[in-house]
C-alpha cells in the first residue's frame, strides 16, 4: 500500500509543471482570439459610448500589457484565486463551485449508465454472436455511435416531453416549486433522466462495441477454455474469468473519456438548459470572459490528471500483474 502512496504523490508532483504549462498556453490562446470582453459587453448593452468602453477596459485590467496581465493572473492562481468574472461580476472560484457539482451529477449519471449499459450490452452481444439479438445490438450501437448528441437530445425531448409528457423538457429542478428533501431529489432525478441519457449515449455505444470485441477475444483464450473444462458455471466463467480481463480496455478508454465528457456536456447543457459548468464555459468563450474560461480549463486539466491517476489505480485492482509491475519498478 505504501508503494501506492508513493506512486500517487510522484504522479501528482509530475502534474505541477503540466498544469503550469496549461495555464500559460490557455492564457495565450484566449488572448489570440479576436475581440475583447469590454467591447463585447458594450455591444451587448446596445448603445455604448467610448467612455463606457474605456471604463470597462480599465475595470478589467485590459489596458495593461499582455505580459503584465499573465503575470498578475499566474500569481493569483498560485494563491488559489482564479480571478473575477467580467460578465458575472463575481469571483470565478464561487461561480465554478456553484456550477461544478451540477455538471458532475450529469456526468456521473451519464457515465454510470454508459459504462454499466455498455458493458452489459457488450457481454450480451459477444455471447449472442451470430444470432439476431447480437446483430441488433451491434447495429444499434453503430447508429448511436454516429448520432450527433444534440439531435438525439432533441428527439428525446420531442418523444418524452412533448408527445408523451412523461419527463420535463429542460432545467435541473421545477423552478418555483418549493420542494425540499425527498420531493426535491425526485424532482432533480426526473430532470436528470433525459440529459444524462443523451450525454451517455455516445459512450454507451462505444463501450458496447469495445466490450464485445474484447470479450470475443478473451472467450477464445486458453484459460477460459480451461475454466469451462473445469466445469465452472457459464455465469462464473463469463463474469469472473473473461469479463475481468476484457474490462481493462474499457477502463483505459473510460478514464480518458471522462475528461472529454466536459466537451459533450456543453451541448447537452445547452439543449436541456442545464445550469452547469459546460454552459458556463461555452458562454465565457462567446463573451470573451477570460477569467471564467481560464478557471474552467484549469479545473478540467486537474480533472484529467486525477482521472488518469484513478484509472491507473483501478488497473491495479483489476489486474494483479500491473500491481506487481509497479512494485518491481
Amino acid at each position: 500500500m505504501q508503494s501506492l502512496g508513493l506512486y500517487v504523490s510522484r504522479r501528482l508532483l509530475q502534474a505541477v509543471p503540466l498544469l503550469a504549462g496549461a495555464i500559460v498556453l490557455n492564457f495565450t490562446l484566449i488572448h489570440l482570439a479576436p475581440g475583447d470582453p469590454a467591447r463585447t459587453l458594450a455591444g451587448e448593452a446596445g448603445s455604448a459610448t467610448p467612455e463606457y468602453v474605456q471604463q470597462l477596459r480599465r475595470d478589467f485590467g485590459l489596458d495593461r500589457s499582455f505580459g503584465e496581465q499573465l503575470a498578475r493572473y499566474a500569481s493569483k492562481v498560485v494563491r488559489g484565486d482564479l480571478g473575477y468574472s467580467f460578465r458575472h461580476r463575481e469571483g470565478v472560484v464561487g461561480l465554478i463551485a456553484e456550477r461544478l457539482p451540477r455538471t458532475l451529477l450529469l456526468m456521473g449519471v451519464g457515465f454510470a449508465w454508459a459504462v454499466a449499459g455498455g458493458v452489459a450490452l457488450g457481454v450480451l452481444a459477444a455471447r449472442k454472436r451470430g444470432t439476431w439479438a447480437g446483430a441488433a445490438i451491434s447495429v444499434a450501437s453503430l447508429l448511436a455511435y454516429a448520432t450527433p448528441v444534440f439531435w438525439f437530445g432533441l428527439m428525446l425531448v420531442l418523444l418524452f416531453s412533448v408527445k408523451l409528457q412523461w419527463l420535463p423538457t429542460y432545467g435541473m429542478t421545477t423552478i418555483g416549486g418549493d420542494a425540499a428533501g425527498f420531493g426535491w431529489a425526485l424532482d432533480v432525478a426526473a430532470h436528470t433522466v433525459l440529459p444524462a441519457a443523451t450525454l451517455g449515449l455516445f459512450y454507451l455505444a462505444l463501450y458496447t462495441r469495445l466490450t464485445r470485441a474484447s470479450m470475443i477475444e478473451t472467450i477464445s483464450q486458453d484459460y477460459v477454455v480451461v475454466a469451462r473444462a473445469k466445469g465452472l458455471s457459464e455465469r462464473r466463467v463469463i463474469l469472473h474469468h473473461a469479463l475481468r480481463n476484457a474490462l481493462l480496455g474499457v477502463v483505459t478508454m473510460a478514464g480518458m473519456q471522462m475528461a472529454q465528457m466536459v466537451g459533450g456536456s456543453v451541448l447537452v447543457e445547452t439543449v436541456f438548459a442545464w445550469p452547469g459548468m459546460g454552459r458556463l464555459l461555452f458562454e465565457a468563450v462567446a463573451q470573451r470572459d477570460y477569467p471564467v474560461l481560464l478557471g474552467g480549463l484549469l479545473v478540467s486539466s486537474v480533472a484529467v490528471v486525477v482521472m488518469n491517476l484513478l484509472t491507473d489505480v483501478a488497473y491495479g485492482f483489476l489486474d494483479p500483474r500491473v500491481r506487481a509491475g509497479e512494485r518491481a519498478a
Binding site: L41, A48, Q55, H88
Partner: protein
C-alpha cells in the same frame, strides 16, 4: 413512468396551496369593485438570455432590462403614442423654454426595504448612475446641467440647452430610480445589491440562480393599490431554440419574449389552442434591419455601387421568405413607428437587376470574361439563422449582376472586432433601434463626431456629412413638433440619397403567451413594462 405524473400533480398541488393561503389572507380586505383583474398566479417567462446584472441602471442589456423593469420604479410611464403618464411622479411641468423640468413625486412610495423614495433618490440615480454609467447616459441625460431638490417630493432638472426628446427618457427601462441609501459611497458597478436589487416597483427580488432563473415576488406595498395582480414572476433562461419551443408547447413556460420562438416555427405555434402571438410592444425600440457599407474602401465608396446593390435586393422576398412575413419592408432610415417624424417620401430603389447592372456599368465596374465585375467579401450579424440566409440571398442576387461575393462568418466578439475596431469589411447586415425618439436612437450612426473606433453599434461606415451633423443637432433642440418633423424629413431624404446604410426591413420581434393571460403588452415598451397590470383570467 408515473413519476412525472406525480411530479406535475404535486406542482399543481403546491401552486393551489399557495394560492389558497393568499386568497385566505386577502379575505380580510374585500377587493374593490372596480378591480376587474383577478389576483394570483405565476408568470413563467422563457427567455433566450441570462441577465448580466439585475441593476439595469448600469446597462441596456436585454436580460437585465427585462427583469429590472419589474423591480424598480420610474418617474413616468407612457401610452402607445409615447405621451407621458404619471407613475412615481404624479404631476410635472416643463418651462416654456424647455430648460426646466419639475416633477412632483407621490408621497407614498417606498423601497422594498421599507425606506421612503424621495427626491434625493431620483437625483442620485440620474447624476451618479444613469448619466455617468449607463451606456445611453449621454444620449438621455447629456443635456442635464444640474438637479435641484427643493423639498423631498420635488425634483427639478435644469438643462444646459433645450433637448426635445427629454420628456421621453423617464420610463423604467431607461431610468430606474435606485435607492441612494444602498448605493451612496459604494463602488456602484460592483455593489452587491446589483445581484440582489432593492427597488420600489411592483415585484420584489427573491432569488437568482445563475445559469437557471430569477424569481420575483409580488410587492404587497406597491404604491398602485390593488396591483400587481400576479403573485410571482419566474424568469427562466433556455438557451436552445428548439428546447424553448418545446417548453412553450408543453406549457412549462407562459410567455416567450423577443422572438424566443423563431419565425420559422411561429405559424405552427400560434395555432396551438392556448397560444397567442403579438408583435406589439417593441415600438419603443423601432428596429431597422439594414446593410451598413464601409465607405472607406472602393468600390463601396461609390454611391452608384451602393445604389446598385439596393436595386438588386428584393426586400419583399426577404420579408416573406427569410422573416416568414413577420415585419415590414423599410422605406428609409427611420422606422414608421415614429409617425410624427417618419416620411416615405424619400428616394426609393425598387427591385431591378437591369437598373443595378446599368449603375455598375456607370461606376466603371466592367464584367470580365467570366462575367464577374468584382470579387468582394461580406459579413453578417451573428444573431441568428435569418442573417445567414440573408447573406446567402445577397450572394445569389449579386452574382446575377456580376458581383462575386464571399461570405465571412465570425462569432459576436469577432464581428464587433472586425466591424468597429478593425473597420475590415465591405458591408455587414445589422439591426439598430431608433428607440423612443429618433434623436435618441439615430445620431450615433450618422453624426460624424460620434464615430468612435472600438465602440459597437455606432457609425462604422465612416459617414461624414456636415449638413447631417447640423440637422441632427437642430432636431434635438427644436421644441416645435411641426418644425422638428420638417428637419427629420430632410434628414431622411439625405440619408436615403447618400445611402451609407441600406435599410431593408423594419423588424417586428414577437412575443408568445398563453391566451388566458391578460394585459400582457401594456404599452410600447412591451416586455420592458413593469407587468403591474398583467393578470390570469380565471376559467
Amino acid at each position: 413512468m408515473t413519476g412525472n405524473g406525480r411530479r406535475t400533480t404535486w406542482t399543481r398541488f403546491t401552486l393551489a396551496a399557495v394560492a389558497g393561503v393568499i386568497s385566505a389572507l386577502s379575505l380580510a380586505a374585500p377587493p374593490s369593485l372596480e378591480a376587474q383583474a383577478q389576483r394570483g398566479g405565476v408568470l413563467r417567462m422563457g427567455a433566450t438570455i441570462e441577465p448580466t446584472t439585475l441593476n439595469h441602471g448600469l446597462t441596456s442589456q436585454l436580460g437585465a432590462s427585462m427583469i429590472g423593469t419589474k423591480i424598480f420604479g420610474s418617474l413616468l410611464e407612457y401610452d402607445w403614442d409615447f405621451v407621458p403618464k404619471p407613475s412615481v411622479a404624479e404631476k410635472w411641468e416643463v418651462s416654456p423654454d424647455g430648460l426646466r423640468y419639475t416633477f412632483h413625486l407621490r408621497k407614498d412610495v417606498t423601497f422594498h426595504d421599507g425606506k421612503p423614495l424621495t427626491a434625493s433618490d431620483v437625483k442620485f440615480s440620474v447624476l451618479n448612475v444613469l448619466k455617468p454609467l449607463h451606456p445611453r447616459g449621454p444620449a438621455n441625460y447629456g443635456a442635464v446641467d444640474d438637479i435641484d431638490t427643493p423639498n423631498p417630493h420635488t425634483v427639478v432638472f435644469k438643462l444646459k440647452y433645450p433637448y426635445a426628446p427629454f420628456i421621453r427618457v423617464f420610463q423604467v427601462s431607461e431610468s430606474p430610480i435606485l435607492p441612494r441609501h444602498i448605493y451612496e459611497g459604494s463602488d456602484i458597478r460592483n455593489n452587491p445589491a446589483n445581484a440582489k436589487p432593492v427597488g420600489s416597483g411592483p415585484f420584489v427580488f427573491k432569488e437568482w440562480v445563475k445559469g437557471s432563473h430569477v424569481i420575483l415576488e409580488r410587492n404587497p406595498s406597491y404604491f398602485k393599490k390593488g396591483q400587481p395582480h400576479l403573485d410571482r414572476i419566474v424568469y427562466q433562461v433556455i438557451p436552445d431554440q428548439a428546447t424553448r419551443v418545446a417548453a412553450f408547447e408543453t406549457g412549462q413556460v407562459d410567455l416567450v419574449p423577443y422572438t424566443g420562438i423563431p419565425n420559422l416555427e411561429a405559424n405552427r405555434i400560434k395555432q396551438l389552442p392556448n397560444a397567442t402571438m403579438t408583435t406589439r410592444g417593441y415600438e419603443s425600440q423601432a428596429l431597422i434591419m439594414w446593410l451598413e457599407f464601409n465607405l472607406r474602401k472602393s468600390p463601396l465608396s461609390d454611391v452608384r455601387v451602393r445604389r446598385a446593390i439596393a436595386h438588386a435586393i428584393d426586400k419583399n422576398f426577404v420579408l416573406l421568405n427569410i422573416w416568414f412575413g413577420i415585419g415590414k419592408v423599410a422605406t428609409g432610415p427611420m422606422s414608421s413607428v415614429h409617425r410624427a417624424f417618419y416620411t416615405p417620401e424619400v428616394p426609393q430603389y425598387p427591385y431591378s437587376l437591369d437598373r443595378a447592372n446599368q449603375l455598375l456599368d456607370e461606376a466603371g465596374l466592367k464584367r470580365g470574361a467570366d462575367g464577374v465585375r468584382v470579387k468582394i467579401t461580406q459579413d453578417f450579424i451573428p444573431y441568428g439563422e435569418e442573417y445567414v440566409r440573408l447573406a446567402e440571398y445577397i450572394r445569389e442576387q449579386l452574382k446575377k449582376v456580376g458581383i462575386d461575393v464571399t461570405t465571412r462568418s465570425s462569432d459576436t466578439p469577432g464581428w464587433f472586432n472586425r466591424i468597429w475596431t478593425q473597420y475590415d469589411f465591405n458591408w455587414t447586415s445589422n439591426f439598430v433601434g431608433n428607440l423612443t425618439d429618433p434623436s435618441i436612437g439615430m445620431p450615433r450612426y450618422y453624426v460624424s463626431s460620434l464615430a468612435k473606433q472600438g465602440v459597437p453599434f455606432t457609425n462604422s461606415m465612416d459617414y461624414k456629412n456636415p449638413e447631417i451633423d447640423k440637422l441632427f443637432e437642430q432636431a434635438a433642440r427644436e421644441l416645435n413638433e411641426g418644425k422638428r418633423a420638417a428637419v427629420f424629413h430632410q434628414i431622411q431624404r439625405i440619408l436615403a440619397t447618400d445611402l451609407p446604410v441600406l435599410p431593408i426591413l423594419e423588424l417586428q420581434p414577437t412575443t408568445f403567451y398563453r391566451k388566458d393571460l391578460e394585459d400582457v403588452v401594456a404599452g410600447p415598451f412591451g416586455n420592458y413594462e413593469s407587468f403591474d397590470r398583467m393578470y390570469w383570467k380565471k376559467k
